[in-house]
Amino acid sequence: MALRTLASKKALSFALGGAARPLAASARGVTTVTLPDLSYDFGALEPAISGEIMRLHHQKHHATYVANYNKALEQLDAAVAKRDASAVVQLQGAIKFNGGGHVNHSIFWKNLKPISEGGGESPHGKLGWAIDEDFGSFEALVKKMNAEGAALQGSGWVWLALDKEAKKLSVETTANQDPLVTKGASLVPLLGIDVWEHAYYLQYKNVRPDYLNNIWKVINWKYAGEVYENVLA
């Protein structure tokens, strides 16, 4: 929380002090994103995910996505103000990658919960029934997500997606940091599992299937159920 106020103070002083600068963007003030806090300690997800990985993943990787996304947004603002269309287009790659990284990881932290606080408990209620209907059984869903996650070449994410128009669940994968909406505008992410190597390498080395098998122990089905019910309400 304190970090957030510090950041906004910095933005304010920059805007005031930067009035003399030729760029209009700084005076307008670009809306930036901030790194969300975790609701649990770095080590709370052990032994499924080590504290070292959680700390690096949150403080380094996610933080870098946030910083680069903010930078790209400022550059985008400047390019739009200057009506530099080719600069606007060129920034899209950085925005998609870093913005997607921020979006995906923000969902990911909420998808995880320590075992002591309910992580790993199977889904109940409407989501549980929907899973049985669309996949046959909870085990079948886990097996499918593990298979697709292991088969993904390179870096990416595997998602449990809800199609809010068709009102159906599906398993999707996205490459690199592409958010789920790139696979379908009506897709809402309920659960995302990061299969970039940085998400598991220090602990599981090259054995991605072991990471996938173990992460289910700390998956926060309660959050997924809430999202499901809110979307379909």
Partner: protein
């Protein structure tokens, strides 16, 4: 039985010989249950090559643990995966480079492409490095780099910049472009290889996270800088350039004036 033996002895003429052969052939086919079974066992098979140095020779820039895992597990898995796919695939009789071009299928890769390309890419990567590497190239290679990039520093900066611009997993290459007839720095995603585009790779750097995460965590910049300054094998680069020049004419054409 006795009659056929007599037949052999008394009439050793070709017709009798042919008949004898046919008799033998028929029984061999019968014994093996048909001709087709003989050809099922012929498949392609690729082996894992070993890096040309001990696994701890690249310390402290690439730890023994990383090389052991990267070569012993990742590279080995690609080889095993490829051989498993080829056991039931119609692709037979290719060198690895030709298999990559064939499996790339002009942008619509066949399932064997990923494994084949990664087997080749990693082999190329191990050979691109050496203990006590880095520094400056000599002679013709340095001249060519200075010609195509302006200076060695420019090349080094462009290589590092390309590594940082690559988002996600992939490789950074110094390639000799066939059509432009010059050296160029490119990066490719996942397993894509410049071989598929017809260019000649000269150096490769693995930017999948498994290549540097244990040693550098998320600090890709230091990994690339160390690779450039301490690991590149300019000897191998020289050999590769020499070979490449037999395919690409890097000199100016000698057009005689009438």
């Amino acid at each position: 039985m006795a009659a056929s033996v007599l037949h052999l002895r008394l009439l050793p003429s070709p017709p009798a010989g042919v008949k004898l052969q046919q008799r033998q052939l028929r029984s061999r086919i019968q014994r093996q249950g048909g001709l087709s079974r003989r050809f099922l066992k012929v498949v392609s098979y690729y082996g894992l090559t070993t890096p040309p140095y001990k696994l701890d020779a690249l310390e402290p820039y690439m730890s023994k643990r990383t090389v052991e895992l990267h070569w012993g597990k990742h590279h080995q898995d690609y080889v095993d995966g490829l051989n498993k796919q080829l056991a039931t695939s119609p692709l037979y009789g290719y060198t690895l480079e030709d298999l990559i071009k064939e499996a790339y299928n002009n942008g619509n890769p066949l399932p064997e492409y990923n494994n084949a390309a990664q087997v080749w890419n990693h082999h190329f990567f191990w050979e691109s490095m050496q203990p006590d590497g880095g520094g400056l190239p000599e002679g013709g290679v340095l001249q060519q780099i200075e010609k195509d990039f302006g200076s060695f520093t420019n090349f080094r900066e462009e290589f590092i910049r390309s590594s940082l611009q690559l988002l996600g997993s992939g490789w950074v290459w110094l390639v000799l472009k066939r059509n432009e007839r010059k050296l160029s720095v490119v990066h490719t995603r996942n397993a894509i290889s410049p071989l598929a585009f017809g260019d000649i790779p000269i150096i490769s750097l693995d930017l999948w996270e498994h290549a540097y995460y244990l040693d550098y965590k998320d600090d890709r910049l230091t990994y690339v800088t160390n690779f450039m300054d301490h690991l590149i094998s300019w000897h191998t680069v020289t050999l590769r350039m020499m070979r490449a020049e037999s395919f690409v004419n890097l000199g100016e054409p000698n057009i005689p004036v009438a």
